[in-house]
């Protein structure tokens, strides 16, 4: 019977995986007391083919009765096979914030930031009649919310009112003071807009200020303390359906993750490995145990030392180096220590291992974009909110600071087809470099990291002076600060975009045909590591033939 239930659960999970697109992100939240400078930090790796184009959507004022269109599924922009369609209208707010739109909208001009990951959850709570998807909720939360908590409440209320049609999702929502982790899934298969029942189940938990949260494709909010209104927010009738369905009984602890996401998708360590790795990197002293998909790590942990933006960027470049799961040293890494592992279909896996997968590092080649944000209460909003943005994979990207007060982004960062090569788009420069590095990962990755650092180190070094100048201008006239930061951000984005194309051409001209062009213009042959040559029996067949010939 247990086996039957497990099979059923697996089928349910597979069904939801087929229905839900966002499958592999790793966001973090860092409370103001856990960061080096008191910033509240939110981060996100958007792992998969999702819209990488940044659009600034200006805030506005609207007459009562104005309606706004709702489009689904906005995160899939750039996919010709998944056209975005209008699914309805809802009343527009009388006043909206400026927000930054992308696959998963991530920032507004009030320093509110959002990171995202998918967990899908039970098929029983999914409902196709729900109008709003997670990207819609983010858009609405950023447009209408001026704090993280307010954004969470707005998203929750709208999801209940209009129905939530997406799979289970988590958002890490931060502002200049605090972080809330918001988890949402549908109202149930039987929900209809006419039912007058809430169209979503959701809960939110406040992150302790001195702690760090990580999520990776399974729900993370555990037992809810319904009495603790300071640290938990929940949807209307949250317990009703779980009780009716026998998932929970009155008197038992209400474990949100176990109730709504009892069987996380992916292999047994697809989610837990990344949670383990991120927590182990920020708090190695706690020696976290290895847990599979059914074992839960704490919601958040206190880091051994306070964290910087750079620390989070480094976590995002992790390939499990130095662990038993190191993707750069196992056999599949090949001769050049390549951590990238292409996806494998279930019918392509060896017998007895169809439920397994490659080890999953935090750094992922198929990432569309990633960011690390800072929200700072001691700075005026246009300066205090800054999002370090990188296109494509986090380990080979360059993070460029984009202030939440800017009013323009250079065109190459706002465009780009993805189903064909598009040289007008910055994204393709980063994707080209990342893909080209697969030719000779050990040599090129080192060079890429040096080049990446050559930009980022300058941005870090200039940050204090840039912000000091911006604050000075803000005190004279906020518009001057906005103009200054816009110009500075545009200049940096343009420099990086042009520089990265040049760098791509440089790599192509330097590494080809198994060789490497040196400084004198000569082709050198780095060859293969000796260990690898021994493992692949270099020269073996020839020696065997020679042995046979010499016998004669």
């Amino acid at each position: 019977m247990k086996r039957k239930l497990l099979s059923l659960s697996l089928v349910a999970v597979l069904l939801l995986m087929a229905a839900v697109p966002a499958l592999a992100c790793t966001p973090l939240g860092i409370g103001k007391g856990a960061s080096e400078d008191g910033s509240v930090m939110v981060s996100h790796t958007c792992d998969g083919w999702y819209d990488h184009r940044i659009q600034i959507v200006p805030g506005g004022e609207y007459a009562p009765g104005t309606m706004m269109d709702v489009y689904v599924d906005m995160c899939l922009g750039t996919r010709p096979a998944n056209p975005i369609t209008k699914v309805g209208e809802i009343p527009q707010a009388e006043k909206t914030n400026t927000y930054f739109h992308i696959g998963y909208p991530f920032m507004n001009d009030k320093q509110v930031m959002m990171g995202e990951f998918t967990w899908s959850g039970r098929e029983e709570v999914y409902n196709a009649a729900g109008m709003l998807y997670i990207a819609n909720l983010e858009q609405l939360g950023l447009q209408r919310g001026s704090t993280a908590k307010e954004a969470v409440q707005i998203m929750g209320e709208l999801a209940e009112k209009y129905g939530y049609g997406d799979g289970g999702e988590t958002l890490v929502v931060g502002d200049k003071d605090e972080i809330w982790v918001f988890e949402v899934c549908g109202g149930g298969l039987l929900w209809t807009p006419e039912s007058e029942q809430p169209g979503a189940h959701w809960a939110a938990q406040r992150l302790p200020d001195d702690e760090v949260f990580v999520g990776a494709n399974r729900a993370r909010i555990g037992v809810i303390d319904f009495e603790d209104k300071d640290n938990f927010l929940v949807s209307t009738n949250l317990t009703a359906l779980p009780e009716q369905m026998g998932w929970w009984k009155e008197g038992e602890p209400f474990d949100f993750a176990k109730i709504f996401n009892p069987v996380p998708y992916g292999g047994p360590f697809y989610q837990s490995r990344r949670e383990w790795r991120a927590f182990s990197l920020v708090a190695p002293s706690q020696e976290f145990p290895i847990l599979d998909e059914f074992g839960a790590y704490p919601f958040s942990v206190k880091p051994d030392k306070k964290l910087s933006v750079k620390d989070i960027m480094n976590i995002y470049s992790d390939h499990l180096e130095g662990t038993p799961y190191d993707l750069t040293t196992d056999k599949a890494a090949g001769p050049y220590g390549n951590p990238n592992r292409w996806p494998i279909g279930r019918d392509q896996k060896p017998e007895g291992r169809t439920g397994q997968d490659w080890e999953r590092a935090i750094a992922m080649f198929r990432c569309s974009y990633s960011f690390v944000s800072q929200s700072r209460s001691w700075l005026p909003d246009p300066v205090g909110g800054v999002l370090w943005f990188g296109e494509d994979a986090p380990d080979t990207t360059v993070y460029v600071p984009i202030y939440c007060g800017v009013t323009e982004i250079p065109t190459p960062w706002t465009v780009g087809e993805r189903h064909k090569f598009d040289p007008t788009s910055a994204w393709w420069a980063f994707n080209l470099v990342n893909n080209y590095a697969n030719l000779r990962w050990d040599a090129m990755y080192k060079e890429i990291r040096e080049k990446k650092d050559s930009y980022e180190s300058v941005f870090f070094a200039e940050q204090a002076a840039t912000e000091e100048e911006a604050v000075k201008l803000f005190n004279e006239d906020p518009a001057k600060a906005v103009a200054f930061l816009t110009e500075k951000t545009m200049e940096r984005l343009n420099t990086v975009e042009k520089g990265w194309w040049e760098f791509a051409w440089h790599l192509i001209g330097k590494y080809y045909d198994g060789g490497m062009i040196n400084e004198e213009g000569r082709m050198t042959s780095p060859g293969y590591p000796m260990k690898y040559l021994e493992e692949v029996d270099f020269g073996g067949p020839a020696l065997k033939d020679l042995e046979e010939i010499n016998k004669k």
């Binding site: 039957k4 099979s7 059923l8 089928v11 349910a12 597979l14 069904l15 995986m17 087929a18 229905a19 098929e123 029983e124 999914y126 149930g188 298969l189 039987l190 209809t192 039912s195 009716q244 369905m245 026998g246 279930r346 019918d347």
Partner: protein, 183 residues
């Protein structure tokens, strides 16, 4: 007095007529516990199961049920929902032919075990769009002792005509939420 007696008589008559009208015919009476599966991996079976459970009926849904794994236990009725999901079948690694074969096997085993067979279509016209949907409906309804549909699924009268032609009892409910009321 006469007027009162007449009124009382009329009231009793109306009440008894109502009772007759509301009592479901014997042939459409369904008895739990219910075992539910889908022929096409759409969410229909789960919806039926949820509606039943929310109405207090005992129901178990299993989209991977086969004749081999079928155990009659206390089940009195097997409900098979028709209508297909290409995504669902893809994710479950199956197709419409395999689904029909699986369901016909389950129906045979259930019938042999004395269960009543209900063929259901409860996801509306959205699950009556292509040849896979048609094949699923045809296979399931042909084996059904009773047909259960929601109003939207029968909006063109297809199931009414089918039930009449094949002399099968038909239960029509407003929507998926209402299914629990007839279980």
């Amino acid at each position: 007095m006469k007027k009162t007696a007449l009124s009382l008589f009329l009231a009793l008559l109306v009440l008894s007529l109502c009772a007759v009208a509301e009592a479901p015919p014997e042939e459409t009476k369904l008895e739990g516990p219910y075992l539910v599966t889908t022929c096409g991996q759409s969410p229909g079976a789960v919806m039926v199961g949820m509606s039943a459970m929310q109405a207090g009926a005992k129901a178990t849904y299993n989209n991977a049920l086969t004749a081999e794994t079928f155990e009659p236990g206390e089940f009195k009725t097997l409900i098979v929902t028709a209508g297909t999901s290409m995504k669902g079948m893809g994710a479950a690694g199956t197709d419409i032919n395999a689904e029909i074969e699986r369901c016909l096997g389950v129906i045979k085993a259930a019938r042999e075990a004395g269960l009543k067979i209900v063929g259901a279509h409860i996801e509306g016209m959205a699950r009556r769009t292509d040849s896979s949907d048609a094949a699923s409906i045809e296979a399931v309804m042909a084996e059904a002792d009773v047909i259960l549909v929601v109003t939207d699924s029968d909006s063109d009268g297809f199931f009414t005509a089918y039930a009449k032609e094949h002399e099968k009892p038909l239960i029509v409910v407003k929507d998926a939420l209402e299914i629990g009321k007839v279980l």
